[in-house]
């Protein structure tokens, strides 16, 4: 390990400590735990900044949202199971399908994928925490405010009812009086803020906190996917935040005219703003899921993935193309023909990088010795289901076909094949794979197989018939249909499929709860996997790594023989993290990491006052901003606490010690 000499004032290499005794190691662990552990009790819970506590909460909250969205889906399927059913009236049905879409996209899928990153990225890059632990907590609490707001509103019969993409003019002040659409617009704001905080955190963690030696070409593929997605979030989320908060909400609250054609506004502008976010959103969900597949395939095929560089390039290419196809959601609007051709081409081209990734995994399975464990079953289920969804996506990229299928159940079938196949299946695989790391116990494999088969069958039985229903002309978002349409039998089949999905999720829940308390103890590395997250105990201690690991290959645990090389010398009496250079990951500095803090939760509440209050009166906005001043001051004051001595690298290269 040669540190970057240019980073040192005297140009000398870092000294090497040759041995550490057992007692030194044990002493370090106790001191580190005292420094890094969140405080106990309710206060400790509110002030927690450990990325694992926040990540775990995020994952559990997002999973609860998956269940809530699932219950809404079940209600819709119950309503549609036979013609002219009266279980849900049109108004209730509108609220349910809008809340289902909003929940699944904004409160389950994106938060779940970012949460997996916030939990695992630091562990995978060998860091003690994320770059900005308080920002992380703030993001989580902001998200919780959004969750609570949506569901309180739904139960108060004020649930949003204009669809998850809230098209104007339907969602505008004229056609949606009352506060239902306002709820939607602000829920979106909360989840956008949370996602942006997570994205900045992931980017800086990956750029500055990688283990020494983890150069760009050694970053684990899950981390690469999270990094690419973080960049996508930075460029996609502002579009919908602008559209919903600065345009739609202001049109509704203070009579702006963004979307009012009578005053020069433009309804299509909303579709551009929404889909410029909305299409990359699909890949924001999908790329992290693909990132989860690689370690699973590598581990259970016992070989490095085929085509590492190709997969990284495919991720980056997908991210670029994802921003160039939003107009394919708007083929039914009057857009120029040249535009249609361009977006058709782009929509087809994006299938190529995804195909590259799938072929890389198939090659890995081909060349390795695949073991059909539960995570691997989900990977195979992903390939089967997702490829089907991808193919209907290529069909929909054709304008002529799209105009026929637009707003029919064909689109519903397509998007659920893509999202359940491409997002949820890898996610379930990842749950089975990493559950031992998070909880210290292994999920039961027999129940896991029952879960997998029920889920695979359920997804296909539910959504395959919808292709046919769509081709037969059944529009989406109708609360019922007449018997002579002949859509009854296929709808019943789809509803039976939905019951099967519900059963599969129930099996998973029972398995998770039972295994968390009574499962087989996992140990450190139950699958003999290669990533750094498996080098720490399960569940990981508060400080993650006793000493910062040093990485010399893409598979640190497979390629180091007996001993794990580490960098020593970080403080054990207070929180300190190792910062490395951006490209080569050479040790550069040590930064202190913040203590537990109430200000993130407080500021998230203030944001709640600002954005929820903005629906009712501008005075709430001013009041909320005033209250957040206290929070910002507290936050800054906590950061500016003196520490006993600091070794400073001033920009001219000199090193100064300040007591």
């Amino acid at each position: 390990m040669t540190p970057d000499r240019a980073d040192r004032a005297d140009g000398a290499p870092l000294p090497v400590v040759l041995t550490l005794s057992e007692s030194e190691l044990a002493g370090d662990a106790a001191a580190l735990d005292a420094a890094w552990r969140d405080r106990p009790g309710l206060w400790g819970w509110l002030t927690a900044v450990d990325h694992k506590s926040i990540g775990r909460r995020y994952i559990i909250t997002a999973f609860l949202m998956f269940l809530a969205g699932g219950i809404e889906a079940a209600l819709m399927r119950a309503q549609l199971a036979r013609p002219e059913n009266t279980l849900l009236g049109p108004d209730r049905y509108n609220q349910i399908f809008t809340t289902h879409g909003t929940t699944m996209m904004f409160l389950f899928a994106v938060p779940m994928m970012t949460a997996m990153g916030l939990y695992f990225v630091p562990l995978m890059v060998g860091a003690r925490t994320v770059a900005f632990p308080r920002l992380n907590a703030f993001g989580y609490w902001t998200y919780v405010v959004g969750v609570v707001f949506l569901y309180v509103s739904l139960f108060a019969n004020t649930g949003p009812d204009a669809g998850w993409f809230a098209y104007v003019p339907l969602s505008g002040p004229q056609y949606s009086p009352g506060h239902r659409v306002d709820v939607w617009a602000q829920v979106v704001t909360f989840t956008e803020i949370a996602a942006l905080c997570a994205a900045v955190n992931v980017i800086v963690t990956v750029f500055k906190m990688r283990a020494p030696g983890m150069s760009l070409n050694r970053i684990p593929l899950f981390v690469w996917a999270q990094l690419v997605v973080a960049f996508m979030i930075v460029f996609a989320m502002p579009a919908v935040a602008t559209g919903s908060t600065l345009m739609l909400a202001t049109d509704r609250a203070v009579n702006m005219h963004w979307f009012n054609p009578a005053e020069g506004g433009d309804a299509l502008l909303w579709q551009h703003m929404f889909w410029f976010f909305g299409h990359p959103e699909v890949y924001i969900i999908f790329l992290p899921a693909l990132g989860m597949i690689t370690p699973i395939v590598e581990t259970f095929c016992r070989r490095p993935v085929f085509g590492y560089t190709a997969i990284v390039m495919a991720n980056i290419t997908t991210a670029f193309f994802a921003f160039g196809l939003w107009v394919h959601h708007m083929f039914a609007t009057p857009i120029p023909e040249l535009g249609e051709s361009l977006f058709t081409a782009a929509s087809m081209v994006i299938a190529i990088p995804t195909g590259v990734q799938i072929f890389c995994w198939i090659a890995t399975m081909w060349l390795g010795r695949a073991r059909l464990t539960v995570p691997m079953l989900f990977v195979l289920g992903f390939i089967f289901t997702f490829v089907n969804g991808g193919i209907t996506g290529v069909m929909l990229a054709s304008v002529a076909f799209d105009k026929q299928a637009h707003d029919t159940f064909f689109v519903v079938a397509h998007l659920h094949y893509v999202l359940l196949g491409g997002g949820v299946m890898p996610l379930f695989g990842a749950f089975y794979f990493w559950f031992p790391k998070v909880t210290g116990r292994i999920l039961n494999a027999t129940l896991g197989k029952v879960h997998f088969w029920l889920f695979l069958i359920g997804v296909n039985v539910t959504f395959f018939p919808m292709h046919i229903l769509g081709l037969e002309g059944m529009p989406r978002r109708v609360y019922t249909y007449l018997a002579p349409t002949g859509w009854g039998p296929l709808n019943l089949v789809a509803s039976i499929g939905a019951v099967t999905i519900a059963l599969s999720v129930l099996v998973f829940l029972i398995n998770a709860i039972r295994s968390w308390t009574h499962g087989e103890p996992a140990g450190e590395n139950p699958w003999d996997s290669s990533g750094l997250e498996w080098a720490v105990p399960s569940p990981p201690p508060s400080y993650n790594f006793l000493h910062s690991p040093v990485v010399r290959s893409r598979h640190p645990l497979w390629d180091t023989d007996v001993e794990l090389p580490v960098v020593t010398g970080l403080r054990t009496d207070r929180k300190e993290v190792l910062i490395t250079s951006t490209f080569d990951a050479m040790p550069d500095s040590r930064h202190s990491s913040p203590e537990p803090s109430i200000w993130p939760a407080y500021l998230a509440l203030c944001m709640g006052v600002v954005f929820i209050g903005s629906i009712f009166s501008p005075y709430y906005v001013l009041g909320g901003l005033g209250l957040s001043m206290i929070g910002l001051f507290g936050w800054g004051w906590q950061s500016s606490k003196r520490i006993e001595s600091e070794l400073v690298a001033v920009p001219n290269g000199a090193m100064v010690e300040r007591a």
Binding site: P13, G569, S640
Partner: protein
């Protein structure tokens, strides 16, 4: 657990760094990107709405006034000087100079914020008259929120320096505060040209 083999000792590495060696600099850059991109999207929407009108500004709306915005732009450009000197003083860890120049920065930043109020009215239209008014108000309004946040950050930092002796890390944060100010002013230049000057030449 695999036995650990120490290969290097990090104790001699610095605990405070400046610029792109520090995490906060990267975090600031991240939020600048998000905010800059939001402004870019708003400007794109402004130009998109332009296509819906024959005349711009529409319906006999007067052009935006230039006097106050131009004075404020000049003030903003001048403000870069003390902000830059503050960053340099912070890099030298010179507490006295940082305090002095932060106070001066506070003095010059305040009128910029106050003038912003008249700058909004210099648009010569209201947000609820036409889509043109909505777009212009939103762009300038959003930039005002960035300006307000940065001014508050500067005031908070200055207060901290006077309330208690600051850790050296605060010097690095002070340099990042300057970095953010360059962005806030830099991004205003195209807004000034598009929103205030643009209608006269469009």
């Amino acid at each position: 657990m695999k036995p650990l083999r120490p290969t290097a000792d990090a104790a001699a590495l610095p605990s405070v760094t400046f610029g792109q060696r520090s995490m906060m600099w990267w975090g600031t850059l991240g939020f600048m990107t998000i905010e800059g991109w939001t402004i870019a999207l708003l400007v794109a929407a402004y130009l998109y709405l332009r296509q819906n009108y024959v005349a711009w500004p529409p319906l006999r709306t007067p052009n935006p006034s230039l006097l106050i915005p131009t004075i404020n732009l000049a003030l903003m450009l001048v403000s870069i000087v003390p902000v830059w000197i503050t960053a340099r003083a912070a890099a030298r860890l010179d507490t006295a100079a940082v305090k002095r120049w932060l106070v001066l920065t506070c003095i010059i930043e305040l009128p910029i914020l106050v003038l912003r109020w008249w700058e909004l009215w210099a648009l010569n239209t209201r947000w609820d008259t036409t889509a043109y008014g909505s777009a212009a108000w939103t762009i300038v309004g959003f930039h005002t929120s960035l300006l307000l946040f940065d001014v508050l950050d500067t005031y908070g930092l200055t207060l901290f320096y006077f309330l208690r002796r600051q850790p050296v890390k605060t010097f690095s944060d002070t340099a990042d505060n300057s970095f953010y100010w360059y962005f806030t002013i830099g991004i205003w230049i195209p807004i000034y040209l598009i929103v205030y000057v643009g209608p006269r030449i469009a």
